[in-house]
Amino acid sequence: MKKYLGTKILVYILTFVFAVTLDWLIPRFMPGNPILVLVSRFSGLPESARVMYSYLTKAFGLDQPLWSQYVNFWIALFKGDLGISIYLYPRPVLEVLKMAIPYSLGLMIPSILLSWIVGNNLGAIAARRKRLDSIMLPIMYFITGAPYLWLGMLLAYFLGVVWDIFPIAGAYSFSLRPHLSWLFVGDFLKHWILPFLSLFIVQIGGWAIGMRNMVIYELENNYVRYLETLGVKRKLIRKYAFRNAILPQVTGLALQLGTVIAGQVTTEVVFSYPGIGYILTQGILNQDYFLIQGCFLFIIIGVLIANFTVDLVYMALDPRIRFSYGGEV
C-alpha cells in the first residue's frame, strides 16, 4: 500500500514538472509577439510606440535568452510569483486569478455537482423503465448536443429580454456595490441563475445518457443474471448494478472538477459574467504568456489532484482494486 502510494506520488511529481514545462513552452511557440499586441493598443504617435516597445520588452524580461527565462520562471514559481499579466498590465497574475476565479467556481461547482447527481439518478431511472426511456433518451441527446452558446442565448432572450424576469449581464446589478445584505445576496442569485441553468441543463444530458448506458450494460451482466436466478430482490440487484455503473461516472466527475478553474468561456460571454474563462481566452488572444501560464498551472494542479483523488476513491469504492494492490488476493 505504502509502496503503491509512493510510486504514485513520484509519478505525479514528474508529471507536474513535465506539464508545467509544456505550459511554459507552448505559449512561447505561438506566432506573434505579446509586447507588440500591448503596444498596438496604444493609438498614440509612432515615436512613442517605439519607446514603449523597448521598455516593455525589458520590463517583462522577454529580451533574455529562452533558457534564462525558463530558469527565472521556476525560481519565481517557487516564490509563489506568477509574474505580471501583459493583457491586464500591470496587475499581477495571481491577483487576476483571485479576482475572477471565485465567480467561475461559484458557477461551475454547483452546476457540475447538481447535474451529476440529477443526471445520474435520471439515467438510472430511465434505464429501468422502457417507456420513460424512449421519451427521455432523445430529449437527453438533444440537450447534451445543444451548444452552451445557443441555449444561453435562448435563455437570455426569453427569460431576460422578452419576459424580463432575470437580468442578462453581470454577476450582480450594476447599481449595487457588494456588501452583506439580503438585497445583495438575492441580487447575486438572480444574476447567477441563468448562467447556472444553461450549464446545468446541458451537462445533465451527458451524465444521464452515460449512466443509463452503464446501468443497462450492468443489468445484462452475468452477476445480475446469477442473482436473478437465485431469486434476489430487484431492489438489491439494482443497488449492485448502480454501484458498478457509478465508477466511470466518478472518474468523469473528478476530471470535470479538475478543469473547473478554466471556467466556461461561452457562458461567461453570453451572460457577460465575470469569470476566468473570458479572461483566459483574451489572455490567449493577447498572447499573455504569464496569464496563460498561471491559469494552466492551476488547471494542471486541479487535474492532478482530481486524478489522485480518483485513485484514492476507487480504492474505497471498488474492493477489487483495494485487494489487488493490497496484495491480499
Binding site: 505561438m30 506566432p31 506573434g32 509577439n33 505579446p34 507588440l36 499586441v37 500591448l38 503596444v39 498596438s40 493598443r41 496604444f42 493609438s43 498614440g44 504617435l45 509612432p46 515615436e47 512613442s48 510606440a49 517605439r50 519607446v51 516597445y53 521598455y55 520590463a59 505580471i84 499579466s85 491586464l88 498590465y89 500591470p90 496587475r91 487576476v96 479576482m99 475572477a100 465567480y103 437570455a156 432572450y157 431576460g160 442578462i168 449581464a169 453581470g170 454577476a171 450594476f174 447599481s175 449595487l176 456595490r177 457588494p178 456588501h179 452583506l180 445584505s181 439580503w182 438585497l183 445583495f184 461567461e268 460571454v269 453570453v270 457577460s272 465575470p274 483574451q282 488572444l285 493577447n286
Partner: protein, 558 residues
C-alpha cells in the same frame, strides 16, 4: 449562541441597508460601455493606452480639450495659450484649481509632468524632449515652453492629449512605481473621483468640488458606472431594456432596431447614423514583388468599391472614404488637397482598373484566369484582417472578390489578432487593413505621420506598415509638422504635395470611415448630442473623453 448569531445577522443587515450608497439611484447614475474591454487594472496616466477609460478626461485632465465639431481647442486647465514667438508657447493657467486632495494645481505641476519624461526616458511622451528645450514658470499660473525645433501640429495634439500630473504625489514615487504602478485610487484634478471597481465595472463618483463647475457647469450624472460587456448580444439587450445609457460599441442591426425601439438615439436619425471617426486603409507591402509597382497599386485603387462595403457590411452605418482618407471634419477638411485629388484621384471603375493593368503589363499569359506580373510570374494578394473582427472580415472578402473581378488573384486571410499584428509590424504580409493611427485629431498630420512614418526599420511599430520608402515624402510630412497651424495656405501647399505623391504611388488605399459608434438610450437621460444639437462629440473611448465625452456629461438633461 444562536441568539447572538441572529442578533449579529440582523444588525449586519440593518447596518448595510443604511450604509451610504450601496445602491446607486437610477436617475443619478449613467451606465456607459464600449470603451472598456478588460477588467479594470490600471489607472496610470503614464500608461494611458492600457488605463481604464476615463483615467484621462474624468480623473486627470489636459491643458486643453478639443472639439472636432467646431475645430476649436477649448481651454481647460489652461485659461489661454498662444505662441508668443516662433519658438515659445505661453500658457496661462486658470486660478483656483485644486487636485482631488485639495492641493492647488499650479504651473509647477505642468512643468513637473513634462520634466518627469526627461528624467525617465521610458515614459511614452519623452520624445517631446527631442524638440522641446526648456520650460519656465515665471509665476504659479504661467508656463513658458521654449522649443529647439517647434513642431506645431504635434504640439497642438499634445496640448489636449497629455494629462497633467500632481507633483506632490508623483515626485515621491520611485521610477518603477511611476512606470509600472497601477495607480489605484488615482488623485487627479478632474470632474470625477475614483470610487471603486469590480471585475466588470468601473465606478466614478462626481467631484462636487471640481474647479470646472463654475466655468463649464456641473456634469449631470452623480455616478458613472462603466461596464465591460463581452458580447454584442448583451449590449444590444441592455440597450433595449434601457440598462445601458450610453454605448460606444459597433453594433450590427442598429438601423433595423431603431425602427421598433424609438428610444435608441444615434447622432443622425438616418444614414449614416454615426459620425466618422477613423479611416480604414488597405496597406500594401511595398517591399515585395509585384506590389512594389505603383502602377499595380494604383490600378487596384480603381477596383475597390467601398460603397458596397458600407451598404452590405455596415448596413449604411459608415461612409466610403475620400481619396486621401481625410475625415469629414472641419479641422481636416480646411486643408483638403482638392487640386491633387482632381488631378490624380481615383474612383471605383473596374474598366479603368483593367486598362491600367493591361497598360502596366499585367496580363493573363498562361490563361488560368488571373493576370501574371509583367515578368510572367504568378502572384496572389492576401488581404489580412484579424480573426473575429467580423465586419472587417466581410469587407476583406468583398475587396478580394473585387480584385478577382479585374483579374487579380486575391484572397482574404484571417490570422489571430496577435499574428496579424506581428505580421503587420514586421512587414510579413502582402496586403492588410488597418486603422490604428487614422483617428480623429486636431490635424491631418497625425494621419500622414502614421501612413508615412519614418525612418523605415525592421519593425514599424505604428504606421507605414508597407515600408513605403520615399525620403521626399517623409521630408514633406516633417515640414508639415513644423508649419504653424494657423497658416492655412502654407499647410495646404504642403498637403497638396503630400497628396500628389500619395495618390501617384498609392502605398495604401483609403477605404471607408469607421464610425464614432454611439447608441444612447433616452429612457433615463435626455439631451444627448446629435446632428441637430451638436454640442459635443459623443465619445467615451479611452483617451478620448477630452474630445467631447466630458462636455457631453455636462450637457445631459434628465
Amino acid at each position: 449562541m444562536k441568539k447572538v448569531f441572529i442578533f449579529a445577522l440582523v444588525l449586519l443587515i440593518f447596518s448595510s441597508m443604511f450604509a451610504a450608497d450601496v445602491v446607486y439611484k437610477r436617475d443619478e447614475t449613467l451606465y456607459a460601455g464600449g470603451g472598456m474591454w478588460a477588467p479594470p487594472s490600471n489607472w496610470s496616466p503614464i500608461t494611458p493606452w492600457n488605463a481604464v477609460t476615463g483615467t484621462v478626461g474624468l480623473l486627470y485632465e489636459t491643458l486643453f480639450n478639443y472639439d472636432p465639431l467646431t475645430d476649436t481647442l477649448i481651454p481647460w486647465l489652461a485659461e489661454s495659450g498662444k505662441w508668443t514667438s516662433n519658438k515659445t508657447y505661453e500658457i496661462k493657467l486658470r486660478k483656483g484649481m485644486t487636485w482631488h486632495d485639495g492641493h492647488p494645481l499650479t504651473s509647477k505641476d505642468v512643468k513637473f509632468t513634462y520634466e518627469l519624461a526627461k528624467q525617465i526616458p521610458e515614459i511614452y511622451y519623452s520624445p517631446v524632449w527631442n524638440w522641446l528645450a526648456k520650460i519656465d514658470t515665471p509665476d504659479d499660473y504661467t508656463v513658458v515652453f521654449t522649443f529647439s525645433s517647434p513642431r506645431y501640429h504635434e504640439w497642438s495634439y499634445d496640448l489636449y492629449q497629455n494629462p497633467i500630473l500632481p507633483e506632490h504625489i508623483w515626485a515621491k514615487k520611485s521610477k518603477d512605481d511611476v512606470l509600472t504602478g497601477a495607480n489605484e485610487k488615482a488623485i487627479g484634478s478632474g470632474a470625477y473621483l475614483f470610487e471603486t471597481y469590480g471585475t466588470d465595472r468601473m465606478i466614478y463618483l462626481r467631484n462636487d468640488n471640481w474647479w470646472g463647475n463654475k466655468v463649464f457647469g456641473q456634469p449631470k450624472p452623480k455616478r458613472i458606472v462603466y461596464l465591460t460587456v463581452s458580447s454584442n448580444n448583451v449590449a444590444l439587450g441592455m440597450i433595449m431594456k434601457g440598462e445601458l445609457d450610453c454605448s460606444n460599441f459597433f453594433l450590427p442591426g442598429i438601423p433595423t432596431l431603431k425602427k421598433t425601439y424609438t428610444d435608441i438615439h444615434t447622432w443622425f436619425d438616418k444614414e449614416p447614423y454615426m459620425l466618422s471617426d477613423n479611416t480604414a486603409y488597405l496597406f500594401f507591402n511595398t517591399t515585395i514583388k509585384p506590389l512594389n509597382d505603383p502602377n499595380l497599386r494604383r490600378a487596384l485603387a480603381y477596383a475597390i468599391d467601398p460603397t458596397i462595403i458600407a451598404k452590405n457590411v455596415y448596413e449604411g452605418q459608415v461612409l466610403p472614404s475620400n481619396n486621401v482618407g481625410f475625415l469629414p471634419i472641419k479641422g481636416w477638411m480646411k486643408f483638403y488637397p482638392e487640386n491633387a485629388v482632381k488631378q490624380y484621384g481615383f474612383k471605383y471603375d473596374p474598366k479603368t482598373a483593367r486598362s491600367l493593368l493591361d497598360k502596366a503589363g499585367y496580363k493573363d499569359v498562361n490563361k488560368d484566369g488571373y493576370r501574371e506580373a509583367p515578368d510572367g510570374s504568378k502572384f496572389k494578394i492576401e488581404i489580412s484582417v484579424p480573426y473575429g473582427w467580423t465586419d472587417w472580415m466581410e469587407s476583406a472578402k468583398i475587396i478580394a472578390a473585387q480584385f478577382v473581378q479585374v483579374g487579380i488573384n486575391a484572397e482574404a486571410k484571417f490570422p489571430d489578432y496577435s499574428k496579424y499584428n506581428d505580421d503587420l509590424i514586421s512587414g510579413k504580409f502582402s496586403a492588410a487593413i488597418s486603422n490604428s493611427g487614422s483617428q480623429m485629431t486636431i490635424s491631418p498630420w497625425t494621419s500622414f505621420n502614421w501612413l508615412f512614418n519614418s525612418p523605415i526599420s525592421e519593425n514599424m511599430y505604428n504606421g507605414n506598415f508597407g515600408k513605403y520608402n520615399n525620403q521626399k515624402l517623409f521630408d514633406l510630412v516633417t515640414q508639415l509638422n513644423s508649419t504653424p497651424m494657423d497658416d492655412t495656405a502654407a499647410n495646404k501647399k504642403v498637403i497638396e504635395q503630400i497628396a500628389e505623391i500619395f495618390l501617384k504611388d498609392m502605398p495604401a488605399i483609403p477605404l471607408w470611415y469607421n464610425g464614432m459608434w454611439f447608441e444612447a438610450s433616452t429612457q433615463v437621460w435626455k439631451g444627448w448630442p446629435s446632428e441637430k444639437t451638436p454640442y459635443a462629440y459623443p465619445t467615451t473611448w479611452g483617451g478620448r473623453w477630452q474630445t467631447g465625452g466630458v462636455m457631453m456629461l455636462i450637457g445631459l438633461k434628465q
